[in-house]
């Protein structure tokens, strides 16, 4: 692997200055940015409006020319068809031809990639299914809502089975279920060896799935690093248990006091995302009709797993933790106390959990969370309460990950 090939995306002193009419520098949008995104990484690109995120992406994709510096993609430049044929891009808005139907749209981009007819046909159907637009393949994209257009936009970015995905606000305008599906999809894509540059304002999304993040402000990188390292409070300890008696709480206060700290005790709150998904799933179970997007299936088969081996990374832990934790039912949350003594050297597992979700795990003790996560990945055949997860069955079975419904059942069983 050559030096310049060591990164999926690499920018060297990338600078973009927008001049005024007279050619004088007016705005420095990106200022000497050195970005290095490794293969097989999900990189979250953050920053307030106008911080230069989209400009950077456009320079990487050769939509804008850098005033200074260079942007390399997959070891080359993006205007080289050999390189761009391995890149998938979803811009900040979908920018699709309004008169083409969803199917024609995908067919058009498939043709540009020179995919043979049979391959195109197969990929289009599976992608439509994947993004939950199976029934809407023959509707013009112009009649789609923003979220549905995003889904088609994502499908077109995946039609060439890219090695690198550049996603600008991929979940903007998408319903929470769609958002959740997309996030799962991105994680799965990364598992299959793809590199993802994710640009988003939805910090929770970025936090959930990214390996590393970079925060841009005024065209320069303010901070960059692994999500966990950046967010973890090394000087605090969080403990989650079942509902404790007043006496037990008093003891904990006392113990914390012995260590010289105050203890903050509260009941954890469920994430609205999970709550919403549960409600929609109930409606799905009752087979209510909708003209909107449906639930997508996990991932389609053609998106090949590349033999780029991922070392056991933070992401893997994050993902496992998240799926377990977010699967917990709201009712279990009401039975748990949220105890946050400060500070303590004992940390990691809970903080990991906290990173992944604000919701508590069902286990009474921190130590037990980890064993639960490890036993989770066995495939199960139980009746699915949750159709969304049911639709994702293929994916979960395929990679042997936790099936969310199973952990739900477990939790219910333990706490009933």
């Amino acid at each position: 692997m050559s030096a310049e090939n060591a990164y999926a995306i690499e920018t060297v002193a990338l600078t973009k200055v927008f001049p005024d009419w007279w050619g004088r520098a007016k705005v420095v949008a990106v200022d000497g940015l050195d970005l290095q995104i490794g293969y097989n990484e999900i990189y979250g690109f953050l920053g307030p409006n106008g911080s230069g995120k989209t400009t950077t992406i456009k320079m990487i994709l050769n939509l804008l020319r850098p005033t200074k510096g260079h942007a390399f993609v997959l070891g080359g430049m993006c205007d080289d068809p050999d390189i761009s044929s391995r890149v998938g891009y979803l811009p900040e808005e979908s920018y699709l031809y309004r008169y083409l139907t969803a199917r024609e749209t995908l067919d058009f981009y498939g043709r540009i990639f020179g995919l043979p007819r049979e391959v195109r046909k197969e990929r289009i159907e599976t992608l439509l299914e994947m993004v939950g637009l199976t029934g809407m393949g023959n509707r013009p994209v112009g009649t789609f809502s923003k979220g549905m257009a995003r889904r088609i936009g994502l499908a077109q970015a995946l039609i060439n089975d890219p090695d690198l995905l550049i996603l600008d606000e991929p979940t903007a305008g998408m319903d929470p279920m769609g958002t959740r599906q997309m996030k799962d999809l991105f994680v799965e894509l990364a598992r299959r060896g793809k590199t993802i540059l994710l640009c988003s304002h939805l910090l929770a999304d970025v936090e959930d799935i990214c390996d590393r993040i970079g925060i841009l402000y005024g065209g320069t990188m303010q901070v960059e690093g692994a999500v966990r390292e950046l967010l973890q409070h090394q000087d605090q300890t969080e403990i989650r248990t079942g509902r404790l008696s007043a006496a037990a709480l008093a003891k904990i206060h006392a113990i914390a006091k012995e260590e010289g700290y105050n203890c903050d005790v509260h009941k954890p709150v469920d994430k609205l995302e999970s709550y919403f998904i549960n409600i929609v799933n109930q409606a799905l179970e009752q087979k209510q009709v909708t003209s909107g997007a449906g639930a997508g299936t996990g991932i389609t088969g053609f998106l090949a797993a590349r033999p780029i081996v991922r070392t056991e990374s933070l992401l893997d832990q994050l993902v496992t933790a998240r799926v377990d934790a977010t699967a917990s039912k709201a009712e279990t949350a009401t039975k748990t106390e949220h105890v946050v003594p400060t500070p303590s050297p004992q940390t990691d597992k809970t903080l990991l959990d906290k990173l992944a979700t604000a919701r508590p795990a069902a286990e009474p003790k921190t130590e037990k969370i980890q064993p639960h996560q490890q036993e989770a990945p066995k495939p199960v055949e139980t009746v699915k309460k949750d159709i969304l997860e049911g639709l994702m069955e293929r994916k979960n079975k395929a990679d042997g990950r936790t099936e969310a419904t199973q952990s739900d059942n477990d939790n219910e069983g333990r706490h009933a």
């Binding site: 939509l63 804008l64 761009s84 920018y95 031809y97 043709r111 077109q156």
Partner: protein, 459 residues
């Protein structure tokens, strides 16, 4: 290549969904049959045919040109404005392929539309003689002058010889000190040249004027019904009653007369014609008048018993069959297609750096300039002599880039006069308009498009 086709297909489906395209198609589908019924011309079958084809082809050409301008300036600018190109240029496609794909799509659409409407006009024209009640003479005339393709040989004069004569007269006049004092020398010279031009065309009363034509080659030399046509326009130096001129024409291998009256191999035909001044006239004689080596002599005798003034014969031309109506019609459609191709290339090329409204305006100006190219070239050339070098470096190349759509390049005049569009002429038009002018415009557009930024500066 596949991406080129993908973009061409997409452009095609984009164009088909444009309201302008629908309007043009509906308009033509309704208007063309209606015109074939209502057009009368001068009341004769020939007049009706000529009027219909003239207006029909003219309308198809005009509407398709306007449609091509609209689509070609819309497609790329719209893709840029609505940012559809963000997705396209980030795919494995070269920038020039995008421009070429857009053009290809429009060209394919034009082939389809021109074929359909060309076929409609062709069909209506062929059925027209059967639909109306016309006498056999009218039908014969329509057959001979319209449903044919004729080549013409024109009389040419040696301009250098005329200039020499004018200069000689000028020198003589100066030597005799008879130059008009109120005129500049150049003006006198111009006047003398005009006089010489007139003299060489004139035939005084009681005299004969003869023209020799070489290379009269028929499509079917063995056809016994073949005819040749003499076409002319005349003027009189003096006043003729009713503006009528009576002439005796002799057509045939007049070299036989030079040798004195002897054995005549090919017949020499006489034709008595009374002609109104300043309008074109045509008469025909059997084709066996032409000598075997393709020579034909035409002579005009200014009969002093009927005319008492000098007759000036303009644009004397011999016409003969050299092709069929169908192939000629096809060539006319090709000429229209040449226009459409240039306009499409211009439109797409302009939108690589201009917005839609500006590009369409420039395109329309180019189109109308092309339609009036003769007039514009003449008027600006007249201006050009005074501004000299600047003009030659700036305006002239630009003017040259404007294609010619009028005069010789107007296909309808060929069809309504039953004139063959000569293949060398057509290929030259294709070469110059498509492979030079349109190509230059297109390459320029591709070059600009390759260099420009697709995304707008947004901060």
């Amino acid at each position: 290549m596949h991406s080129l086709w993908a973009i061409a297909r997409n452009t095609l489906s984009q164009a088909i969904r444009m309201k302008a395209a629908v309007v043009v198609v509906v308009l033509l589908v309704v208007l063309l049959p209606l015109m074939s019924v209502t057009m009368e011309g001068d009341g004769t079958l020939l007049g009706k045919l000529q009027t219909f084809v003239s207006y029909g082809l003219g309308l198809v050409s005009l509407l398709l040109c306007v449609l091509t301008i609209a689509i070609s300036t819309f497609t790329l600018s719209n893709d840029l404005k609505r940012k559809h190109l963000y997705l396209v240029v980030t795919k494995p496609v070269r920038r020039h392929q995008i421009v070429a794909g857009k053009l290809l799509g429009i060209l394919l659409l034009n082939i389809a539309l021109l074929s359909v409407f060309g076929a409609i006009i062709y069909g209506l024209t062929l059925t027209m003689p059967g639909m109306i009640d016309a006498d056999p003479a009218q039908r014969e005339r329509a057959q001979a002058e319209f449903f044919t393709a004729r080549s013409g040989l024109k009389v040419t004069y040696d301009e250098a010889e005329l200039i020499k004569r004018a200069e000689q007269r000028f020198t003589d006049l100066r030597a005799a000190d008879q130059l008009p004092r109120d005129m500049e020398q150049a003006q006198v010279l111009r006047e003398l040249l005009a006089q010489e031009r007139m003299v060489v065309k004139s035939c005084p009363s009681g005299r004969t004027k003869r023209w020799d034509f070489d290379g009269v080659r028929f499509k079917n030399p063995d056809d016994p019904d073949a005819t040749i046509f003499v076409r002319y326009k005349l003027e009189t130096a003096g006043v003729q009653p009713n503006d009528q001129v009576y002439g005796v024409w002799k057509i045939g291998d007049l070299r036989q007369l030079d040798a004195g009256v002897g054995q005549v191999k090919t017949p020499i035909y006489d034709a008595l014609q009374d002609a109104t001044v300043r309008t074109f006239h045509e008469f025909s004689v059997p084709a066996d008048a032409v000598a075997e080596d393709g020579f034909l002599g035409v002579a005009f005798f200014n009969n002093p018993s009927l005319n008492n003034t000098t007759v000036i014969l303009d644009d004397v031309e011999v016409l003969f069959h050299s092709g069929t109506f169908s192939t000629n019609y096809l060539r006319a459609l090709v000429m229209i297609y040449i226009r459409l191709t240039f306009l499409a290339a211009l439109g797409v090329s302009l939108t690589t750096w201009l917005s839609f409204p500006v590009a369409i305006l420039v395109c329309l100006v180019a189109f109308f300039a092309g339609t009036a190219s003769g007039f514009i070239a003449e008027s600006i050339d007249g201006l050009g002599t005074t501004i000299g070098l600047v003009y030659h470096l700036t305006l002239r190349p630009l003017l040259w880039m404007i294609p010619q759509f009028d005069g010789d390049h107007n296909p309808t005049t060929y069809i309504i006069n039953g004139r063959l569009i000569e293949w060398p002429f057509l290929s030259l038009a294709i070469l110059v308009t498509i492979f030079v002018k349109a190509a230059v415009v297109l390459l320029l557009g591709m070059w600009i498009f390759r260099r420009r930024e697709i995304a707008k500066a947004v901060v």
